[in-house]
Subunit: 407 residues, 2 copies
């Protein structure tokens, strides 16, 4: 009669001998740790071909989007499933620009956030707080309202990241500027200087390339939380939390630390030999899905020479040399293993050249990925069935309660 219970779950069979996994009788298949190879959703948002190294959003190749589109247009495509007309794009961009301001309650709360916390956790908390100005957040039945919420949330991500960065440094956050595009305004709020348009364009393209990538742990979290009919704020906040984990986000931070630790391009062959000899990982190379080049990496790499010409910095030129040398050296020594740079590798170099603080690399990624999370949340609540998998019970059965004086 009623399935809406707090414990929306199902579980295991009884009376197994202790130590034997007790699995509910209607288990659909054997246990696969991490749900590897298990289909957890149907989706029409993004498609990856790991064999051929292809990635598309709503069927359009990301190379085309990176070359011709903008972050705003790509966000529109991901949310609405079609490219906008000129008028639609203008309205959409205006809507985003107008909604960048944080509600006063949220910006005041951010000022009180613990200054030492990781910016990803600050982002996780702030996204949840945004529910405070959406009194009907628990009604997720209207696709029109849901898409408006998505736009409002995407608009506010850069403002939150920049505001927390200023607050933790004891500075006042800079207000967003509506005449700037999304990436341009983000750079302005972070740095305080009017951004160079060509430089902002590189960040814009980074955001396009990072906007969506199917069912990784963060997007999966957003879908599971959304499947309870939780608000977009709860779902996307959870996704930020998942991305904060070192096995998910954070790889781009470690790429930069690796490149600096190598020190110079001359040291690369020795470094690679050492890593191979000790069978260690090299950050930013190789990808779980792509059996060939991660299609985002060469696109990101292609921006770097022009960016270096524009912003200068000898240390950045050296960084880029180390990166290309490392890529070449690994390709030479491990050609049979098909180890190529992934998205983290050159995005880290780009963000470093853009002088983004290193612990904001993952938050910048989240600014881009907010679009994918929002799209998946909308798709989830639209075609919803609550997630409630089963477990295999491997614990004790029928233990007695022993009174405390007899323990």
């Amino acid at each position: 009669m009623n399935n809406d219970t707090i414990d929306e779950t199902t579980a295991t069979g009884p009376d197994n001998t202790p130590g034997t996994p007790a699995t509910e009788s209607r288990a659909a298949s054997t246990y696969r740790p991490g749900l590897e190879g298990v289909i957890a959703t149907r989706s029409a948002i993004c498609c990856i071909d790991g064999e051929k190294g292809r990635l598309s959003y709503r069927g359009i190749a990301i190379e085309e989007l990176a070359e011709h589109s903008t972050f705003e247009e790509t966000a529109y495509l991901l949310l609405y499933n079609h490219l906008p007309s000129e008028r639609e794009l203008k309205e959409f961009s205006t809507l985003i620009a107008r909604q960048r301001h944080l509600p006063l309650s949220v910006s005041e709360a951010i000022k009180k956030f613990p200054v030492g916390m990781h910016p990803m956790l600050a982002l996780q908390a702030a996204v949840a707080l945004l529910q405070g100005e959406d009194f009907y957040a628990d009604d997720v039945s209207s696709p029109i309202h849901n898409i408006r919420r998505a736009i409002s949330l995407i608009a506010k991500f850069p403002t939150i990241v920049a505001a927390f960065d200023h607050c933790r440094n004891g500075e006042d956050p800079l207000p967003p500027v509506s005449k700037y595009g999304h990436a341009e305004n983000f750079l302005f709020m972070l740095m305080g200087d009017p951004p160079d348009r060509a430089v902002a364009q590189v960040l814009d393209k980074c955001l396009i390339l990072m906007a969506e990538h199917t069912l990784n742990a963060s997007t999966f979290s957003a879908r599971i939380v959304g499947s309870t009919n939780a608000s977009i704020y709860s779902a996307v906040s959870a996704a930020v939390g998942a991305l904060s984990g070192s096995l998910h986000g954070g790889a781009n931070e470690r790429v930069i630390r690796t490149l600096y630790s190598i020190g110079s391009a001359d040291n690369v062959p020795k470094y690679v030999d050492e890593m191979l000899d000790s069978a260690k990982k090299i950050m930013g190379l190789g990808h779980r899905i792509y059996k060939t080049t991660d299609p985002r990496a060469p696109v990101l790499k292609s921006y770097i020479p022009g960016l270096l010409d524009k912003v200068g910095g000898e240390e950045f030129k050296e960084l880029y040399e180390i990166a290309t040398e490392l890529e070449g050296e690994v390709e030479k020594k491990l050609s049979h293993k098909k180890i190529y740079p992934n998205v983290d590798f050159y995005s880290a170099v780009v963000l470093e050249i853009l002088r983004i603080p290193i612990d904001l690399f993952t938050p910048v990624f989240a600014v881009a990925r907010s679009v994918g999370w929002a799209a998946h949340w909308m798709e989830q609540v639209d075609t919803n069935k609550i997630y409630r998998p089963i477990q295999e019970y491997i614990g004790d059965l029928n233990r007695p309660y022993v009174p405390i004086e007899k323990r």
Copy 2:
């Protein structure tokens, strides 16, 4: 070489004709919406036998725990997998009592939270903020540190809930009192009066009964976020978010609204007939797993007469009459369908008699379930494999990028 990429995911095969689901070749089985019947983890924490209506924590039946144990002792059992000795329990209880205070940064931030937000979202945000005082939160490799974090977090849940409730009402939060037990102190912080010990004991037993229930959507969220090596704050915050959804938490709120709307015990038969005629759900009756009585319901019900004697209130006596009448009427009219009260049904009545504000019912549940979430997070990071299921792509393929002037 390196699997630690931001896009820890895998996806779908290419070149399918549009409209045909494109599933990666190594899909382990067919798609099951909501992962129904799919084993998503191994666990040794909790076991449910839905056929026989049995629930146990670490192998001990919840009826025994509710009768003999305390919240603190049950939390110890769930975290450590054994009942504590007298000394261990004393140390553990002291540890919890001493860690109830919120860091100043977090209590100051809560004062600035939007007053109109749902307490569950406030809780979701505040839990994330607690990372701010744990500088090494991203190192989850030490089981000893992890269990300390779990204890600290469980200790602070009631403080957060009570603090936000006071702040939204323009009052100063009450500081926790270390001489009180967990439930007693929670009631004190919520109500401001020294709690009656017998009344607090009923809440204590409620917390025991709600502390854990295997792999529902909130616990599953905690495990997925934890699987990225995200901190306990990120993982449990995400779980709170999942519980905030109306398909998961919130059922107990709707039970109370239903009972009050029925008005009197005399109206129950007519109400049940109307619901049956229109094939509508009756809140708090029936459970997805239990094919017989939810074992928690009769235990909760048994506390109510004594509680009513203690705290009085004619309206509560009437509420209880409506509830028992409703249970009996449904049992009579639907005996073939095996529809029995679930945990939400009588817990809602208990919390109402305890005069808990109705929108704090789910937060109270979260105070209890924080133990289960923490235990699952610890189990996850201890035996970790990151979650990255696959999707079935049902969108368009090979769409061209059409220039804006040609759209």
